[in-house]
């Protein structure tokens, strides 16, 4: 198959670039090694849209962070993914930290961050009563927000797909051959000719660059652990609560999530050698984030956690790499996109798309017809009764609750399975409509979700997987034989 632009990596960066490219008359293909989008860092992070006072002025991070932050509100409305501009606090617990908060404020001004304010400890507690008495003051950034990182990724990708971008999931790039003009990209399933390759492979960006003969990229991996709390604690804090950054990163945060839970984390553990890619949670990590979270909110409950998880930050040096590779014409590097990568993604995508078009020799010619909006999946939980009744009238399947904890109906699950990039797995359904994401973690709805997947995909019930191939829920039938 021949394509103008081939994007490697279906994280938020690849998906956002795919969406930007879908505006243009260029043929674009995205290849993702995992069975679903957002399976790397994009699926396991804090879900914060940072205001932009953290990065050093003049860096790519500073530029794209502030720009990206300003794009999310509109994107979330057009593409229908969970986002809330709830604002963030950077808390100071001492005079020294107040000085630091002041410095962040100044840096924010330099970076062009709007709507910042330094507030007193009392004012902060007034706005969020769960905060510690020890808080002396805070930097309040009103433009910060929370977003569902995987739903945003899926939304970008689906919008791109509707506008003509092709997606290949569960397909791993094994070789990239630079040809006279363009590349021959080999995967475990096919080969592709592409005029331009975009390296958005996250923690595998170094390997992809090496395959293509591009610049040396040594990715550093740092694991961050989280604890996710029941949605009945979703209102425990109403703003993103950062502590002052220290040598270990941005410190432990306590935040509401865009889907209505409360999230605690992350710590930061360097992964070396065999440890790379490790997303196991640890007793030390869970204890650490709880201990440090209690500094922010002394009443932070020990109970009420519904799951723990970890993500891996892939970074390179102290800034993003967003450039046309100097050694290999046609190779666009979008690598080392650690925090604030999620925030920056929509802004990075705008520039990276233009770089890719140029590298592919395509004109910056926009399509006449471009669908700007994504309908997405209706959220029955957040609807009033009138809206619910209306929806049920159109389709009775929206009247049958499958996931009781998150109020997800059969209609939503079927819609997820009929989406532009359908993923017929338990986790795929979960990431798209939240069935199984709640307090019982799928203990009740898993068999029903499997039943619906079977009906929609034709995959037999006993072969339906949690995630990738080989992760079927069933390992056989009863002695009495097949169902």
């Amino acid at each position: 198959m021949k394509t103008d632009i081939l994007i490697i990596g279906g994280g938020v960066i690849g998906a956002a670039i795919a969406r930007e490219l879908s505006r243009y008359e260029a043929k674009t293909l995205l290849i993702e090694a995992r069975e679903d989008l957002a399976r790397g860092a994009s699926g396991a992070n804090s879900g914060i849209v940072h205001a932009g006072y953290d990065p050093e002025p003049g860096t790519l991070m500073a530029k794209y962070n502030v720009a990206g932050c300003g794009m999310y509100e509109e994107l979330s409305q057009k593409l229908n993914f969970p986002y809330k501009k709830c604002g963030s606090f950077v808390l100071a617990f001492s005079k020294e930290e107040m000085a630091h908060v002041q410095a962040l404020y100044e840096r924010g001004l330099t970076n062009g961050v709007p709507d910042m304010e330094i507030i007193s400890g009392d004012r902060a507690r007034e706005m969020d009563p769960a905060l510690s008495d020890q808080v002396e003051g805070a930097l309040f950034a009103k433009s910060a927000g929370i977003v569902s990182p995987y739903e945003a990724t899926i939304a970008f990708a689906e919008n791109a797909a509707v506008n003509g971008v092709s997606f290949r999931l569960a397909e791993k790039v094994t070789a990239i051959e630079k040809r006279e003009s363009g590349f021959l990209v080999t995967t475990d399933k096919a080969t592709y000719e592409a005029a331009c390759v975009v390296n958005a492979a996250g923690r595998f960006a170094g390997e992809i660059s090496a395959m293509a003969g591009g610049r040396d990229i040594q990715i550093t991996e740092k694991k961050g652990e989280y604890t996710l709390y029941d949605r009945n604690l979703g209102g425990f804090v109403s703003h993103v609560m950062f502590q002052c950054p220290n040598e270990n990163g941005k410190g432990i945060l306590v935040t509401p999530t865009a889907e209505g839970n409360m999230l605690l984390g992350p710590n930061s553990i360097l992964l070396r050698g065999e440890e790379r890619g490790d997303t196991a949670t640890t007793p030390e990590g869970q204890a650490q984030i709880f201990r440090e979270g209690r500094k922010t909110c002394p009443q932070l409950p020990f109970g009420g956690a519904i799951t723990g998880f970890a993500g891996v930050r892939a970074s390179f040096g102290s800034d993003f790499i967003i450039e046309a590779d100097e050694k290999v014409p046609g190779l666009i590097q979008v690598a080392g996109i650690c925090s604030p990568g999620l925030t920056s993604a929509p802004a990075i995508a705008v520039d990276a798309a233009l770089m890719a078009l140029k590298a592919a020799g395509c004109k910056e010619e926009k399509k006449k017809e471009w669908t700007e909006e994504r309908e997405g999946i209706p959220c029955v939980r957040d609807m009033d009764w009138e809206k619910r009744a209306e929806l049920c009238q159109k389709d009775a399947a929206y009247g049958r609750i499958v996931c009781r904890c998150e109020t997800v109906t059969e209609g939503q699950i079927r819609k997820a399975l009929k989406s532009p990039i359908p993923v017929y797995t338990i986790d795929g359904v979960k990431r798209r409509c939240r069935a199984g994401m709640g307090r019982c973690q799928g203990s009740f709805c898993t068999p029903v979700v499997m039943q619906i997947i079977e009906e929609e995909s034709g995959i037999p019930f006993d072969r339906i997987c949690k995630s990738k191939e080989g992760t079927a829920i069933a390992r056989g039938t009863l002695k009495g034989g097949a169902v």
Partner: protein
């Protein structure tokens, strides 16, 4: 011998011993709250009995599986044979609680019966 009675949730801790009473061999049970404990301990010493419960694919039903049990307890040592026979049984909807699915399962003298109503599939 010591046993935990399984005949009710109370789970009495039973002690049973073989004794000679009036010149006859008999089993003496203590620790039981009710007379069933005596029966249970006596059986445990001679021939332990268990009710077997399982489930089976049902053809043409409004649900996939029908649950079943042995109508009476069967000898514990015969459980593997009972399970094997149960797995090979065939069930067809409609079924009512108590319907025999397999007569004299594994030669135990006991029937395997349905423990759930299964209506015929609609359409």
């Amino acid at each position: 011998m010591e046993y935990t009675c399984i005949l009710c949730p109370r789970g009495c801790h039973l002690t049973a011993e073989k004794v000679m009473e009036e010149g006859k061999k008999t089993i003496k049970v203590s620790g039981n709250f009710c007379p069933r404990g005596i029966r249970y301990a006596t059986e445990e010493m001679t021939m332990p009995m268990r009710t077997v419960t399982t489930s089976l694919y049902v053809e043409g039903g409004d649900m996939k599986m029908v649950s079943m049990k042995t109508a009476a307890p069967v000898p514990k040592e015969r459980i593997p044979q009972v399970l094997e026979a149960a797995a090979k049984a065939q069930a067809k909807a409609p079924l009512k609680v108590g319907d025999a699915i397999l007569k004299n399962v594994a030669e135990t003298g006991t029937d395997l019966i349905a423990t759930r109503n299964v209506a015929a599939a609609r359409g």
